[in-house]
Protein backbone atom coordinates (compact mmCIF):
# COMPACT_ATOMS: atom_id res chain seq x y z
CA UNK A 1 0.00 0.00 0.00
CA UNK A 2 1.30 3.38 -0.92
CA UNK A 3 1.82 5.75 1.98
CA UNK A 4 0.37 9.18 1.33
CA UNK A 5 2.68 11.97 2.35
CA UNK A 6 1.27 14.77 4.45
CA UNK A 7 1.89 18.20 3.10
CA UNK A 8 4.86 18.75 5.35
CA UNK A 9 7.41 20.13 2.92
CA UNK A 10 8.06 23.56 4.39
CA UNK A 11 6.31 26.33 2.47
CA UNK A 12 8.83 28.34 0.62
CA UNK A 13 7.77 31.96 0.84
CA UNK A 14 9.95 34.07 -1.45
CA UNK A 15 12.36 36.20 0.56
CA UNK A 16 15.53 38.13 -0.21
CA UNK A 17 17.39 35.44 1.69
CA UNK A 18 16.29 32.54 -0.51
CA UNK A 19 16.72 34.38 -3.81
CA UNK A 20 19.40 32.73 -5.93
CA UNK A 21 21.33 35.79 -6.95
CA UNK A 22 23.76 34.48 -9.56
CA UNK A 23 24.89 37.53 -11.53
CA UNK A 24 22.10 39.67 -10.05
CA UNK A 25 23.68 40.83 -6.81
CA UNK A 26 23.30 44.52 -7.62
CA UNK A 27 19.63 44.18 -8.59
CA UNK A 28 18.94 42.25 -5.37
CA UNK A 29 20.65 44.93 -3.29
CA UNK A 30 18.66 47.74 -4.94
CA UNK A 31 15.30 46.00 -4.50
CA UNK A 32 16.10 45.42 -0.85
CA UNK A 33 17.10 49.07 -0.41
CA UNK A 34 13.92 50.22 -2.12
CA UNK A 35 11.72 48.08 0.15
CA UNK A 36 13.50 49.26 3.25
CA UNK A 37 13.37 52.91 2.20
CA UNK A 38 17.13 53.26 1.87
CA UNK A 39 17.25 53.98 -1.85
CA UNK A 40 17.11 57.55 -3.09
CA UNK A 41 15.43 56.39 -6.25
CA UNK A 42 11.66 55.98 -6.19
CA UNK A 43 11.09 53.78 -9.23
CA UNK A 44 12.77 50.46 -9.87
CA UNK A 45 12.04 48.30 -12.90
CA UNK A 46 13.24 44.72 -13.36
CA UNK A 47 13.02 42.74 -16.55
CA UNK A 48 14.02 39.29 -17.64
CA UNK A 49 12.82 36.03 -19.11
CA UNK A 50 10.12 33.99 -17.45
CA UNK A 51 11.64 32.15 -14.51
CA UNK A 52 14.39 34.71 -14.01
CA UNK A 53 13.15 35.60 -10.53
CA UNK A 54 11.11 38.78 -11.14
CA UNK A 55 8.09 37.69 -9.17
CA UNK A 56 10.23 36.25 -6.42
CA UNK A 57 11.90 39.61 -5.85
CA UNK A 58 8.61 41.49 -6.04
CA UNK A 59 6.96 39.27 -3.46
CA UNK A 60 10.01 39.37 -1.22
CA UNK A 61 9.98 43.17 -1.43
CA UNK A 62 6.27 43.39 -0.55
CA UNK A 63 6.89 41.25 2.52
CA UNK A 64 9.95 43.21 3.57
CA UNK A 65 8.60 46.72 3.10
CA UNK A 66 9.39 48.90 6.08
CA UNK A 67 6.33 49.70 8.23
CA UNK A 68 4.57 52.89 7.20
CA UNK A 69 6.25 52.85 3.83
CA UNK A 70 4.17 52.78 0.71
CA UNK A 71 5.48 50.47 -1.97
CA UNK A 72 3.43 49.91 -5.10
CA UNK A 73 4.34 46.63 -6.77
CA UNK A 74 3.38 45.79 -10.37
CA UNK A 75 4.28 42.46 -11.96
CA UNK A 76 4.03 41.51 -15.65
CA UNK A 77 3.55 45.10 -16.72
CA UNK A 78 3.65 44.01 -20.37
CA UNK A 79 0.13 42.63 -19.86
CA UNK A 80 -1.46 45.66 -18.16
CA UNK A 81 -4.68 46.87 -19.74
CA UNK A 82 -5.42 50.56 -20.24
CA UNK A 83 -6.94 51.33 -16.79
CA UNK A 84 -4.15 49.42 -15.05
CA UNK A 85 -1.58 51.35 -17.06
CA UNK A 86 -3.11 54.63 -15.94
CA UNK A 87 -3.08 53.40 -12.35
CA UNK A 88 0.63 52.56 -12.59
CA UNK A 89 1.30 55.88 -14.31
CA UNK A 90 -0.42 57.69 -11.43
CA UNK A 91 1.44 55.61 -8.86
CA UNK A 92 4.76 56.62 -10.40
CA UNK A 93 3.79 60.29 -10.47
CA UNK A 94 2.65 60.15 -6.85
CA UNK A 95 5.78 58.32 -5.76
CA UNK A 96 7.92 61.03 -7.30
CA UNK A 97 5.91 63.73 -5.58
CA UNK A 98 5.82 62.26 -2.11
CA UNK A 99 8.44 59.70 -1.23
CA UNK A 100 6.44 56.56 -1.95
CA UNK A 101 8.02 53.98 -4.21
CA UNK A 102 7.16 51.80 -7.18
CA UNK A 103 8.65 48.41 -7.97
CA UNK A 104 7.65 47.03 -11.36
CA UNK A 105 8.70 44.08 -13.47
CA UNK A 106 8.13 42.82 -16.97
CA UNK A 107 9.49 40.62 -19.72
CA UNK A 108 11.20 43.33 -21.77
CA UNK A 109 13.23 46.51 -21.28
CA UNK A 110 11.11 49.68 -20.92
CA UNK A 111 11.61 50.79 -24.50
CA UNK A 112 10.16 47.55 -25.85
CA UNK A 113 7.09 47.23 -23.68
CA UNK A 114 3.73 47.36 -25.52
CA UNK A 115 2.51 50.16 -23.24
CA UNK A 116 1.57 53.83 -23.36
CA UNK A 117 4.56 55.91 -24.32
CA UNK A 118 4.31 58.07 -21.19
CA UNK A 119 4.32 54.99 -18.95
CA UNK A 120 7.18 53.36 -20.84
CA UNK A 121 9.38 56.39 -20.47
CA UNK A 122 8.54 56.65 -16.77
CA UNK A 123 9.60 53.05 -16.19
CA UNK A 124 12.92 53.90 -17.80
CA UNK A 125 13.30 56.96 -15.59
CA UNK A 126 14.40 55.22 -12.43
CA UNK A 127 16.81 52.36 -12.03
CA UNK A 128 16.40 49.53 -14.50
CA UNK A 129 17.93 46.10 -14.05
CA UNK A 130 17.90 43.09 -16.29
CA UNK A 131 17.68 39.89 -14.29
CA UNK A 132 20.31 37.69 -15.85
CA UNK A 133 19.83 33.98 -16.26
CA UNK A 134 21.59 31.71 -13.81
CA UNK A 135 24.41 29.45 -14.97
CA UNK A 136 24.10 25.70 -14.58
CA UNK A 137 26.59 25.89 -11.70
CA UNK A 138 24.35 28.44 -9.91
CA UNK A 139 21.41 26.12 -10.41
CA UNK A 140 23.28 23.07 -9.14
CA UNK A 141 24.29 25.03 -6.04
CA UNK A 142 20.69 26.09 -5.54
CA UNK A 143 19.37 22.54 -5.89
CA UNK A 144 21.92 21.32 -3.36
CA UNK A 145 21.02 24.01 -0.85
CA UNK A 146 17.30 23.56 -1.36
CA UNK A 147 17.58 19.79 -0.94
CA UNK A 148 19.49 20.27 2.28
CA UNK A 149 16.81 22.60 3.58
CA UNK A 150 14.24 19.91 2.93
CA UNK A 151 16.43 17.32 4.59
CA UNK A 152 17.04 15.45 1.34
CA UNK A 153 20.26 13.91 0.16
CA UNK A 154 20.65 14.78 -3.50
CA UNK A 155 23.61 13.03 -5.17
CA UNK A 156 25.58 15.01 -7.74
CA UNK A 157 24.67 12.57 -10.47
CA UNK A 158 20.99 13.30 -9.83
CA UNK A 159 21.64 17.03 -10.11
CA UNK A 160 23.45 16.46 -13.40
CA UNK A 161 20.59 14.28 -14.58
CA UNK A 162 17.98 16.92 -13.77
CA UNK A 163 19.96 19.66 -15.48
CA UNK A 164 20.42 17.61 -18.61
CA UNK A 165 16.81 16.41 -18.91
CA UNK A 166 14.52 19.16 -17.69
CA UNK A 167 13.86 22.75 -18.73
CA UNK A 168 16.53 24.62 -16.83
CA UNK A 169 14.56 27.56 -15.44
CA UNK A 170 14.36 27.74 -11.66
CA UNK A 171 10.59 27.23 -11.28
CA UNK A 172 10.78 23.99 -13.32
CA UNK A 173 13.72 22.74 -11.29
CA UNK A 174 12.03 23.64 -8.01
CA UNK A 175 8.89 21.83 -9.12
CA UNK A 176 10.97 18.76 -9.93
CA UNK A 177 12.61 18.86 -6.52
CA UNK A 178 9.21 19.12 -4.87
CA UNK A 179 8.10 16.12 -6.90
CA UNK A 180 11.14 14.08 -5.89
CA UNK A 181 10.70 15.02 -2.27
CA UNK A 182 7.12 13.75 -2.25
CA UNK A 183 7.89 10.69 -4.33
CA UNK A 184 10.76 9.66 -2.09
CA UNK A 185 8.59 10.21 1.00
CA UNK A 186 5.65 8.21 -0.27
CA UNK A 187 7.82 5.36 -1.50
CA UNK A 188 10.21 5.57 1.43
CA UNK A 189 13.21 5.44 -0.84
CA UNK A 190 16.33 7.56 -1.00
CA UNK A 191 16.76 9.74 -4.03
CA UNK A 192 18.77 7.81 -6.60
CA UNK A 193 18.86 7.88 -10.38
CA UNK A 194 16.38 4.98 -10.69
CA UNK A 195 14.00 6.75 -8.33
CA UNK A 196 14.29 9.96 -10.32
CA UNK A 197 13.51 8.13 -13.54
CA UNK A 198 10.47 6.48 -11.96
CA UNK A 199 9.25 9.71 -10.42
CA UNK A 200 9.55 11.70 -13.64
CA UNK A 201 7.90 8.93 -15.61
CA UNK A 202 5.04 8.68 -13.10
CA UNK A 203 4.62 12.42 -13.49
CA UNK A 204 4.51 12.08 -17.26
CA UNK A 205 7.76 13.88 -18.02
Amino acid sequence: MQQLPLAISPARAPTFGNFVEGANAEALLRVRELAEGRLRETVLYLWGEAGSGRSHLLRAASAATAPGRELVVADDVQALDEPAQIALFNAINLARESRGAVLAAGNAPPGQLPLREDLRSRLGWGLVYQLKALTDEDKARHLRAEAERRGLRLPDEVIRYLLSRLPRDLPSLNAALELLDRYSLSHQRHITLPLVRDALKADGR
Binding site: L29, E41, E117, S121, W125, R165, P167, R168
Partner: protein, 443 residues
Amino acid sequence: MQILWDACLRRLEQELPAQQFNTWIRPLSPEGAAESDTLTLAAPNRFVLELVRERFATRIERLASEASGRDLGLRFVLARGADPGSRPAPSAARDSNEVPTVLERARLNRGFTFDSFVTGKANQLARAAAIQVAENPGISYNPLFIYGGVGLGKTHLLQAIGNHLAEQRAQARIRYIHAEQYVTDVVRAYQQRSFDDFKRYYHSLDLLLIDDIQFFSNKGRTQEEFFYAFNALVEAHKQIVITCDTYPKEITGMEERLISRFGWGLTVAIEPPELEMRVAIVLKKAEAESLTLSEEIAFFIAKHIRSNVRELEGALKKVLAYSRFTARELSLDLAKEALRDILNVANRQITVEGIQKTVAEYFKIRISDMHSKKRSRNVARPRQVAMALAKDLTQMSLPEIGEAFGNRDHTTVLHACRTIATLRKKDSVINRDYLVLEQVLKG
Protein backbone atom coordinates in the same frame (compact mmCIF):
# COMPACT_ATOMS: atom_id res chain seq x y z
CA MET B 1 38.53 61.48 17.15
CA GLN B 2 41.20 62.56 14.70
CA ILE B 3 43.72 60.21 16.38
CA LEU B 4 41.30 57.32 16.26
CA TRP B 5 40.46 58.02 12.62
CA ASP B 6 44.17 58.20 11.73
CA ALA B 7 44.57 54.71 13.18
CA CYS B 8 41.66 53.48 11.05
CA LEU B 9 43.12 55.19 8.00
CA ARG B 10 46.43 53.36 8.37
CA ARG B 11 44.63 50.02 8.47
CA LEU B 12 42.34 50.85 5.56
CA GLU B 13 45.25 52.05 3.48
CA GLN B 14 46.83 48.64 3.85
CA GLU B 15 43.66 46.74 3.16
CA LEU B 16 42.32 48.57 0.14
CA PRO B 17 43.71 49.16 -3.33
CA ALA B 18 45.32 52.60 -3.42
CA GLN B 19 42.82 53.93 -5.94
CA GLN B 20 39.81 52.98 -3.83
CA PHE B 21 41.42 54.31 -0.71
CA ASN B 22 42.24 57.66 -2.29
CA THR B 23 38.88 58.04 -3.97
CA TRP B 24 36.51 57.06 -1.19
CA ILE B 25 38.27 56.94 2.17
CA ARG B 26 40.73 59.80 2.12
CA PRO B 27 38.10 62.54 1.52
CA LEU B 28 36.32 61.60 4.78
CA SER B 29 37.00 63.62 7.89
CA PRO B 30 36.07 62.85 11.50
CA GLU B 31 33.86 65.15 13.53
CA GLY B 32 32.82 65.35 17.17
CA ALA B 33 34.39 64.96 20.59
CA ALA B 34 36.93 62.27 21.46
CA GLU B 35 34.84 60.72 24.24
CA SER B 36 31.74 60.41 22.08
CA ASP B 37 30.55 56.84 21.58
CA THR B 38 29.83 57.51 17.95
CA LEU B 39 32.38 58.11 15.24
CA THR B 40 30.96 60.73 12.90
CA LEU B 41 32.47 60.93 9.44
CA ALA B 42 31.84 63.85 7.12
CA ALA B 43 31.76 63.13 3.39
CA PRO B 44 32.33 65.82 0.76
CA ASN B 45 29.18 64.92 -1.17
CA ARG B 46 26.21 62.58 -1.08
CA PHE B 47 27.65 60.23 -3.65
CA VAL B 48 30.76 59.50 -1.58
CA LEU B 49 28.61 59.28 1.53
CA GLU B 50 26.32 56.66 0.09
CA LEU B 51 29.10 54.67 -1.43
CA VAL B 52 31.09 54.52 1.79
CA ARG B 53 28.02 53.64 3.80
CA GLU B 54 27.19 50.87 1.37
CA ARG B 55 30.63 49.38 0.92
CA PHE B 56 32.85 50.20 3.85
CA ALA B 57 30.70 51.05 6.87
CA THR B 58 30.89 47.62 8.52
CA ARG B 59 34.65 47.48 8.13
CA ILE B 60 35.19 51.01 9.41
CA GLU B 61 32.96 50.36 12.39
CA ARG B 62 34.94 47.27 13.33
CA LEU B 63 38.31 49.00 12.90
CA ALA B 64 37.19 51.96 14.98
CA SER B 65 35.95 49.72 17.77
CA GLU B 66 39.22 47.77 17.74
CA ALA B 67 41.33 50.89 17.74
CA SER B 68 39.39 52.51 20.58
CA GLY B 69 38.84 49.38 22.62
CA ARG B 70 35.10 50.02 23.01
CA ASP B 71 31.94 49.63 20.98
CA LEU B 72 31.68 52.62 18.70
CA GLY B 73 28.71 53.54 16.57
CA LEU B 74 29.26 55.00 13.11
CA ARG B 75 27.44 57.90 11.56
CA PHE B 76 27.85 59.67 8.25
CA VAL B 77 27.05 63.30 7.55
CA LEU B 78 27.63 65.69 4.70
CA ALA B 79 30.58 68.00 5.32
CA ARG B 80 29.63 71.60 6.07
CA GLY B 81 30.02 73.53 2.88
CA ALA B 82 29.22 70.46 0.82
CA ASP B 83 27.16 71.25 -2.21
CA PRO B 84 23.70 72.08 -0.89
CA GLY B 85 22.24 70.88 -4.16
CA SER B 86 22.96 67.36 -3.06
CA ARG B 87 21.03 67.62 0.17
CA PRO B 88 17.50 66.30 0.09
CA ALA B 89 14.89 68.95 -0.50
CA PRO B 90 13.38 70.18 2.79
CA SER B 91 9.94 69.08 1.70
CA ALA B 92 11.22 65.52 1.58
CA ALA B 93 11.72 65.29 5.34
CA ARG B 94 8.83 67.41 6.45
CA ASP B 95 7.34 67.19 9.88
CA SER B 96 3.68 66.33 9.77
CA ASN B 97 2.91 69.12 12.25
CA GLU B 98 4.34 71.82 10.06
CA VAL B 99 2.05 74.15 8.20
CA PRO B 100 2.27 73.32 4.50
CA THR B 101 4.41 75.76 2.58
CA VAL B 102 3.38 77.62 -0.54
CA LEU B 103 5.15 75.00 -2.64
CA GLU B 104 3.41 72.15 -0.90
CA ARG B 105 0.00 73.71 -1.33
CA ALA B 106 0.84 74.27 -4.98
CA ARG B 107 2.16 70.64 -5.30
CA LEU B 108 5.36 72.00 -6.79
CA ASN B 109 8.69 70.22 -6.80
CA ARG B 110 11.29 72.88 -6.03
CA GLY B 111 13.93 71.09 -8.10
CA PHE B 112 12.15 72.04 -11.32
CA THR B 113 13.41 75.55 -12.01
CA PHE B 114 14.39 77.51 -15.09
CA ASP B 115 18.00 77.31 -13.91
CA SER B 116 18.02 73.53 -13.87
CA PHE B 117 16.30 73.35 -17.29
CA VAL B 118 18.80 72.63 -20.03
CA THR B 119 18.11 74.75 -23.09
CA GLY B 120 18.87 74.04 -26.71
CA LYS B 121 17.38 74.49 -30.14
CA ALA B 122 14.73 71.92 -29.29
CA ASN B 123 13.12 73.92 -26.50
CA GLN B 124 14.38 77.51 -26.47
CA LEU B 125 11.14 78.94 -27.79
CA ALA B 126 9.07 77.11 -25.20
CA ARG B 127 11.42 78.21 -22.44
CA ALA B 128 11.30 81.86 -23.52
CA ALA B 129 7.51 81.79 -23.56
CA ALA B 130 7.42 80.13 -20.15
CA ILE B 131 9.66 82.78 -18.61
CA GLN B 132 7.54 85.49 -20.19
CA VAL B 133 4.41 84.00 -18.61
CA ALA B 134 6.06 83.49 -15.23
CA GLU B 135 7.13 87.14 -15.19
CA ASN B 136 3.77 88.49 -16.35
CA PRO B 137 1.08 85.98 -15.46
CA GLY B 138 -2.32 86.57 -16.99
CA ILE B 139 -1.07 89.33 -19.22
CA SER B 140 1.07 87.97 -22.02
CA TYR B 141 -0.16 84.66 -23.43
CA ASN B 142 -3.24 83.00 -22.02
CA PRO B 143 -3.28 80.10 -22.09
CA LEU B 144 0.26 79.02 -22.78
CA PHE B 145 -0.03 75.64 -24.45
CA ILE B 146 3.16 73.55 -24.48
CA TYR B 147 3.18 70.30 -26.42
CA GLY B 148 5.73 67.62 -27.27
CA GLY B 149 6.56 63.94 -26.93
CA VAL B 150 6.97 62.18 -23.60
CA GLY B 151 9.95 62.76 -21.40
CA LEU B 152 11.13 65.95 -23.05
CA GLY B 153 10.72 68.27 -20.07
CA LYS B 154 7.15 69.58 -20.31
CA THR B 155 6.48 68.98 -16.63
CA HIS B 156 9.79 70.58 -15.70
CA LEU B 157 8.95 73.72 -17.62
CA LEU B 158 5.43 73.82 -16.24
CA GLN B 159 6.64 73.56 -12.67
CA ALA B 160 9.43 76.06 -13.29
CA ILE B 161 6.75 78.65 -14.07
CA GLY B 162 5.10 77.90 -10.73
CA ASN B 163 8.35 77.99 -8.79
CA HIS B 164 9.35 81.26 -10.40
CA LEU B 165 6.07 82.96 -9.52
CA ALA B 166 6.10 81.52 -5.98
CA GLU B 167 9.48 83.11 -5.49
CA GLN B 168 8.36 86.47 -6.88
CA ARG B 169 5.04 86.62 -5.06
CA ALA B 170 4.78 84.63 -1.86
CA GLN B 171 1.01 85.24 -1.70
CA ALA B 172 0.23 83.97 -5.18
CA ARG B 173 -2.29 81.13 -5.30
CA ILE B 174 -0.67 78.54 -7.50
CA ARG B 175 -1.69 75.00 -8.30
CA TYR B 176 0.08 72.34 -10.32
CA ILE B 177 -2.11 69.37 -11.15
CA HIS B 178 -1.80 66.40 -13.42
CA ALA B 179 -4.88 66.09 -15.67
CA GLU B 180 -5.52 62.57 -14.45
CA GLN B 181 -5.71 63.85 -10.87
CA TYR B 182 -8.08 66.60 -11.98
CA VAL B 183 -10.36 63.96 -13.48
CA THR B 184 -10.33 62.10 -10.16
CA ASP B 185 -11.11 65.30 -8.27
CA VAL B 186 -14.10 66.00 -10.50
CA VAL B 187 -15.45 62.50 -9.89
CA ARG B 188 -14.99 62.94 -6.15
CA ALA B 189 -16.67 66.35 -6.14
CA TYR B 190 -19.56 64.77 -8.03
CA GLN B 191 -19.89 61.87 -5.58
CA GLN B 192 -19.61 64.09 -2.51
CA ARG B 193 -21.81 66.81 -3.99
CA SER B 194 -19.06 69.32 -3.26
CA PHE B 195 -18.96 71.07 -6.62
CA ASP B 196 -19.27 74.47 -5.00
CA ASP B 197 -16.02 73.99 -3.04
CA PHE B 198 -14.37 72.55 -6.12
CA LYS B 199 -15.39 75.53 -8.25
CA ARG B 200 -14.49 78.07 -5.60
CA TYR B 201 -11.02 76.59 -5.24
CA TYR B 202 -10.15 76.41 -8.93
CA HIS B 203 -11.73 79.74 -9.82
CA SER B 204 -9.72 81.50 -7.10
CA LEU B 205 -6.27 80.57 -8.41
CA ASP B 206 -3.76 83.05 -9.78
CA LEU B 207 -1.91 80.39 -11.73
CA LEU B 208 -3.23 77.00 -12.83
CA LEU B 209 -0.66 74.58 -14.25
CA ILE B 210 -2.30 71.56 -15.81
CA ASP B 211 -0.17 68.71 -17.07
CA ASP B 212 -0.96 66.18 -19.82
CA ILE B 213 -4.38 67.54 -20.79
CA GLN B 214 -4.81 64.67 -23.28
CA PHE B 215 -6.02 62.70 -20.25
CA PHE B 216 -9.29 64.65 -20.47
CA SER B 217 -10.06 62.78 -23.66
CA ASN B 218 -13.62 61.39 -23.62
CA LYS B 219 -14.22 62.64 -20.07
CA GLY B 220 -17.30 64.81 -20.73
CA ARG B 221 -18.01 65.91 -17.18
CA THR B 222 -14.37 66.86 -16.57
CA GLN B 223 -14.23 68.81 -19.81
CA GLU B 224 -17.32 70.74 -18.85
CA GLU B 225 -15.95 71.66 -15.42
CA PHE B 226 -12.64 72.62 -16.91
CA PHE B 227 -14.42 74.77 -19.49
CA TYR B 228 -16.00 76.83 -16.67
CA ALA B 229 -12.74 77.09 -14.75
CA PHE B 230 -10.94 78.12 -17.92
CA ASN B 231 -13.41 80.89 -18.71
CA ALA B 232 -13.46 82.21 -15.14
CA LEU B 233 -9.67 82.34 -14.90
CA VAL B 234 -9.08 83.94 -18.28
CA GLU B 235 -11.77 86.57 -17.65
CA ALA B 236 -10.13 87.43 -14.34
CA HIS B 237 -6.73 87.67 -16.09
CA LYS B 238 -5.41 84.70 -14.19
CA GLN B 239 -2.83 82.57 -15.95
CA ILE B 240 -3.40 79.04 -17.29
CA VAL B 241 -0.58 76.88 -18.62
CA ILE B 242 -1.35 73.56 -20.28
CA THR B 243 0.86 70.75 -21.49
CA CYS B 244 -0.15 68.05 -23.91
CA ASP B 245 1.46 65.30 -25.94
CA THR B 246 0.14 66.77 -29.14
CA TYR B 247 -0.98 69.91 -30.97
CA PRO B 248 -4.48 71.13 -29.84
CA LYS B 249 -6.23 70.22 -33.11
CA GLU B 250 -4.84 66.70 -32.89
CA ILE B 251 -6.31 65.88 -29.49
CA THR B 252 -9.00 63.23 -29.86
CA GLY B 253 -12.14 63.04 -27.77
CA MET B 254 -11.98 66.71 -26.75
CA GLU B 255 -14.85 69.19 -27.11
CA GLU B 256 -14.43 71.64 -29.95
CA ARG B 257 -15.01 74.68 -27.72
CA LEU B 258 -12.08 73.62 -25.51
CA ILE B 259 -9.77 72.95 -28.43
CA SER B 260 -10.46 76.39 -29.86
CA ARG B 261 -9.78 77.98 -26.46
CA PHE B 262 -6.45 76.16 -26.17
CA GLY B 263 -5.39 78.12 -29.22
CA TRP B 264 -6.30 81.54 -27.81
CA GLY B 265 -2.88 82.26 -26.36
CA LEU B 266 0.38 80.88 -27.58
CA THR B 267 1.10 77.29 -28.63
CA VAL B 268 4.74 76.20 -28.52
CA ALA B 269 6.42 72.86 -29.16
CA ILE B 270 9.24 71.04 -27.41
CA GLU B 271 11.23 68.89 -29.80
CA PRO B 272 13.46 65.93 -28.90
CA PRO B 273 16.94 67.13 -27.90
CA GLU B 274 19.83 66.84 -30.33
CA LEU B 275 23.11 65.23 -29.29
CA GLU B 276 24.84 68.33 -27.86
CA MET B 277 21.81 69.09 -25.77
CA ARG B 278 21.61 65.52 -24.49
CA VAL B 279 25.26 65.80 -23.42
CA ALA B 280 24.44 69.03 -21.60
CA ILE B 281 21.47 67.40 -19.90
CA VAL B 282 23.56 64.50 -18.62
CA LEU B 283 26.19 66.92 -17.30
CA LYS B 284 23.52 69.00 -15.59
CA LYS B 285 21.93 65.98 -13.93
CA ALA B 286 25.34 64.89 -12.67
CA GLU B 287 25.94 68.40 -11.36
CA ALA B 288 22.69 68.17 -9.40
CA GLU B 289 24.23 65.16 -7.64
CA SER B 290 27.33 67.34 -7.01
CA LEU B 291 29.39 65.15 -9.30
CA THR B 292 31.78 66.14 -11.99
CA LEU B 293 31.27 63.81 -14.88
CA SER B 294 33.81 63.71 -17.69
CA GLU B 295 32.56 64.91 -21.06
CA GLU B 296 33.61 61.59 -22.46
CA ILE B 297 31.18 59.67 -20.26
CA ALA B 298 28.39 62.19 -20.80
CA PHE B 299 28.94 61.91 -24.54
CA PHE B 300 28.83 58.13 -24.43
CA ILE B 301 25.51 58.12 -22.57
CA ALA B 302 23.99 60.85 -24.73
CA LYS B 303 25.05 59.17 -27.94
CA HIS B 304 23.44 55.86 -27.06
CA ILE B 305 20.28 56.96 -25.28
CA ARG B 306 18.35 58.87 -27.89
CA SER B 307 14.74 58.38 -26.99
CA ASN B 308 13.96 60.92 -24.29
CA VAL B 309 15.26 62.81 -21.30
CA ARG B 310 13.81 60.39 -18.77
CA GLU B 311 15.79 57.49 -20.15
CA LEU B 312 18.92 59.66 -20.21
CA GLU B 313 18.39 60.30 -16.54
CA GLY B 314 17.75 56.62 -15.90
CA ALA B 315 20.97 55.69 -17.70
CA LEU B 316 23.02 58.15 -15.65
CA LYS B 317 21.52 56.81 -12.42
CA LYS B 318 22.40 53.32 -13.49
CA VAL B 319 26.04 54.28 -14.07
CA LEU B 320 26.26 55.98 -10.67
CA ALA B 321 24.61 53.05 -8.90
CA TYR B 322 27.02 50.65 -10.59
CA SER B 323 29.99 52.75 -9.56
CA ARG B 324 28.79 52.63 -5.96
CA PHE B 325 28.13 48.91 -6.15
CA THR B 326 31.55 48.02 -7.51
CA ALA B 327 33.37 50.79 -5.59
CA ARG B 328 35.05 51.76 -8.82
CA GLU B 329 35.63 55.29 -9.97
CA LEU B 330 33.57 56.66 -12.84
CA SER B 331 35.19 55.94 -16.16
CA LEU B 332 34.15 55.26 -19.72
CA ASP B 333 34.71 51.53 -19.27
CA LEU B 334 32.60 51.52 -16.16
CA ALA B 335 29.80 53.37 -17.97
CA LYS B 336 29.92 50.85 -20.81
CA GLU B 337 29.65 47.96 -18.40
CA ALA B 338 26.86 49.55 -16.42
CA LEU B 339 24.78 50.20 -19.52
CA ARG B 340 25.53 46.94 -21.28
CA ASP B 341 22.08 45.50 -20.83
CA ILE B 342 20.40 48.75 -21.86
CA LEU B 343 22.51 49.00 -25.01
CA ASN B 344 22.25 45.36 -26.01
CA VAL B 345 18.53 44.97 -25.88
CA ALA B 346 18.00 44.87 -29.63
CA ASN B 347 18.95 41.21 -29.96
CA ARG B 348 17.97 40.09 -26.53
CA GLN B 349 15.60 37.29 -27.58
CA ILE B 350 18.00 34.46 -28.22
CA THR B 351 16.27 31.51 -29.82
CA VAL B 352 17.67 28.23 -31.01
CA GLU B 353 16.68 29.19 -34.57
CA GLY B 354 18.64 32.43 -34.22
CA ILE B 355 21.65 30.52 -32.98
CA GLN B 356 21.48 28.02 -35.86
CA LYS B 357 21.19 30.79 -38.42
CA THR B 358 24.02 32.87 -36.97
CA VAL B 359 26.36 29.91 -36.60
CA ALA B 360 25.59 28.61 -40.09
CA GLU B 361 26.34 32.02 -41.61
CA TYR B 362 29.51 32.38 -39.59
CA PHE B 363 30.91 29.03 -40.77
CA LYS B 364 29.43 29.44 -44.26
CA ILE B 365 27.36 26.26 -44.18
CA ARG B 366 23.65 25.81 -44.89
CA ILE B 367 21.08 26.15 -42.14
CA SER B 368 19.71 22.75 -43.17
CA ASP B 369 23.10 21.27 -42.18
CA MET B 370 22.13 22.03 -38.59
CA HIS B 371 19.38 19.42 -38.84
CA SER B 372 21.06 16.98 -41.23
CA LYS B 373 22.64 13.66 -40.37
CA LYS B 374 25.89 14.57 -42.15
CA ARG B 375 28.89 13.85 -39.98
CA SER B 376 31.75 15.38 -41.94
CA ARG B 377 33.91 17.60 -39.72
CA ASN B 378 33.17 20.89 -41.56
CA VAL B 379 29.46 20.47 -40.75
CA ALA B 380 29.57 18.54 -37.49
CA ARG B 381 31.82 20.97 -35.66
CA PRO B 382 29.68 24.08 -36.31
CA ARG B 383 26.65 22.04 -35.28
CA GLN B 384 28.33 21.19 -32.00
CA VAL B 385 29.21 24.85 -31.48
CA ALA B 386 25.57 25.78 -32.05
CA MET B 387 24.38 23.16 -29.57
CA ALA B 388 26.80 24.39 -26.93
CA LEU B 389 25.64 27.97 -27.51
CA ALA B 390 22.02 26.86 -27.21
CA LYS B 391 22.79 25.27 -23.86
CA ASP B 392 24.65 28.34 -22.59
CA LEU B 393 22.33 31.04 -23.91
CA THR B 394 18.85 29.58 -23.56
CA GLN B 395 16.96 27.87 -20.74
CA MET B 396 15.87 24.99 -22.97
CA SER B 397 16.28 21.46 -21.74
CA LEU B 398 18.87 19.32 -23.48
CA PRO B 399 16.22 17.00 -24.97
CA GLU B 400 14.53 20.08 -26.46
CA ILE B 401 17.82 21.26 -27.92
CA GLY B 402 18.45 17.81 -29.39
CA GLU B 403 15.03 17.88 -30.98
CA ALA B 404 15.74 21.26 -32.57
CA PHE B 405 18.87 19.83 -34.18
CA GLY B 406 17.21 17.17 -36.31
CA ASN B 407 15.72 15.05 -33.53
CA ARG B 408 18.98 14.11 -31.88
CA ASP B 409 19.22 12.49 -28.49
CA HIS B 410 20.04 14.62 -25.48
CA THR B 411 23.23 12.62 -24.97
CA THR B 412 24.42 13.93 -28.34
CA VAL B 413 23.87 17.47 -27.06
CA LEU B 414 25.72 16.66 -23.86
CA HIS B 415 28.59 15.19 -25.87
CA ALA B 416 28.70 18.29 -28.10
CA CYS B 417 28.87 20.60 -25.06
CA ARG B 418 31.72 18.61 -23.53
CA THR B 419 33.62 18.42 -26.80
CA ILE B 420 33.38 22.16 -27.36
CA ALA B 421 34.36 22.91 -23.76
CA THR B 422 37.47 20.76 -24.12
CA LEU B 423 38.36 22.15 -27.53
CA ARG B 424 38.02 25.74 -26.32
CA LYS B 425 40.70 25.09 -23.74
CA LYS B 426 43.12 23.60 -26.27
CA ASP B 427 42.36 25.42 -29.49
CA SER B 428 42.45 29.20 -29.44
CA VAL B 429 40.77 29.47 -32.87
CA ILE B 430 37.69 27.56 -31.72
CA ASN B 431 37.66 29.53 -28.49
CA ARG B 432 37.69 32.79 -30.42
CA ASP B 433 34.98 31.61 -32.80
CA TYR B 434 32.85 30.71 -29.82
CA LEU B 435 33.34 34.04 -28.07
CA VAL B 436 32.67 36.02 -31.23
CA LEU B 437 29.45 34.11 -31.84
CA GLU B 438 28.37 34.54 -28.25
CA GLN B 439 28.91 38.27 -28.53
CA VAL B 440 27.03 38.50 -31.82
CA LEU B 441 24.09 36.62 -30.35
CA LYS B 442 23.98 38.65 -27.18
CA GLY B 443 24.03 41.79 -29.31
